[in-house]
């Protein structure tokens, strides 16, 4: 059964997955690059940039899981770009240049329709006005038996968590305090009842947290007849 996965979701110690004030110059608002400093040196991130080399330690062991086995991504509109409301500038094609690192269909959730954008390297951005359940059905179809990645940002992840659609959630707790922005965890009292949670710290100073959905309980075995 294909899974629904979140990878490399960085949050501050105080739980913010992005800062305040996203703009073209500041995709993560006042957080700047602070949530992702652990990520930049990894072989995985460098590979996304088309650069060779990079670290292959603990951080990369987690970072590298984001692509294998994934057939498509769903992302929120705020991950795609800083515009809000109806699309005025249709020239915007995402933060990732001509050859984005996804190499798959990507479904961007937006209440405002827009034609798909085909990029180099196999990435096509589709725009979808849909609930998490509906979007996942579309993405599953497109993933062709592979897993679906929920790419963020925090509010998109929260919506899929709230709808109980996520099987695997990898969070990276970064030892900074942002004080403001968008929180990942709000509204998930007792999430631990649904997920097995494990943590490990990395020499870079971050803590990798995996939340793995518990298997459904086995059906009760009916009593044997007397």
């Amino acid at each position: 059964m294909p899974r629904v996965r979140v990878h490399n979701c960085s949050v501050s110690l105080d739980g913010y997955g992005t800062g305040e004030g996203q703009s073209l110059e500041a995709p993560f608002g006042h957080a700047g690059t602070r949530l992702h400093e652990w990520f930049f040196p990894t072989r995985t991130f460098r590979g996304m940039q088309g650069e060779p080399g990079g670290s292959t330690g603990v951080d990369d062991a987690f970072a590298s899981q984001w692509a294998p086995g994934v057939g498509t991504e769903i992302m929120g509109r705020n991950k795609f770009g800083p515009q809000r409301g109806p699309w005025i500038d249709e020239g915007w094609r995402g933060w990732w240049g001509d050859n984005p690192p996804f190499h798959s269909p990507v479904f961007v959730l937006s209440h405002h329709p827009r034609s798909p954008i085909e990029m180099a390297g196999g990435t096509t951005f589709h725009f979808l006005d849909a609930t998490p359940d509906e979007a996942l059905a579309v993405a599953r179809e497109a993933a062709n038996g592979l897993d679906v990645r929920i790419g963020g940002g925090p509010s998109t992840i929260r919506q899929f968590l709230a709808a109980d659609l996520i099987d695997h959630l990898h969070v990276v707790v970064v030892p900074v305090l942002l004080g403001r922005g968008e929180r990942l965890w709000d509204g998930f009292e007792e999430l631990e009842a649904r997920f097995d949670m494990e943590s490990v710290t990395s020499p870079s100073g971050v803590t990798h947290l995996t939340c793995s959905r518990r298997p459904a309980p086995l059906h009760a075995v009916p009593d044997a007849p007397d």
Copy 2:
């Protein structure tokens, strides 16, 4: 120079240091014992209860730091007991029985005056209507050259952090989500500028975080005269 220390401050993944709805039956409100399950098996906790044995691994390595070198504790009134407002029931002598584990003077911050309570084993509860700075001056005097521990709860720790009076803060991040209660971290944007932060996970599943105040920068060395 004596230090001001916080130990064993447990918070949920979503940052709550205590739950909602403290009462006589529920000192941590709806959190119940969830924030402290890591603590109960330790030799340190068992020792506080007058019981022998207990674990002596990673969790106890941190837990055991709470007492050595400490001359006195400052705690918030909500740590002392569930009453609010003027003292109506003066029979309340804390949650800790006749022989509390502090074995030192303890200063309870309260806007409502009350006579000191002398307990067995060297603990005396004093009640103090004071700012963090004033309380610390009193506690330092009583500590007689030893360190002062800020005992919590979260709002008391926040007040001392906000006044920049804490040298060492040990936080235990517990992999549960409480969803509501009292947050530890609110209002400390860029706390990492003041503290060196290190984390390590324990086999029990919690993450121990130490925040160690950075040494004051050395005075700039004046240029040598020509």
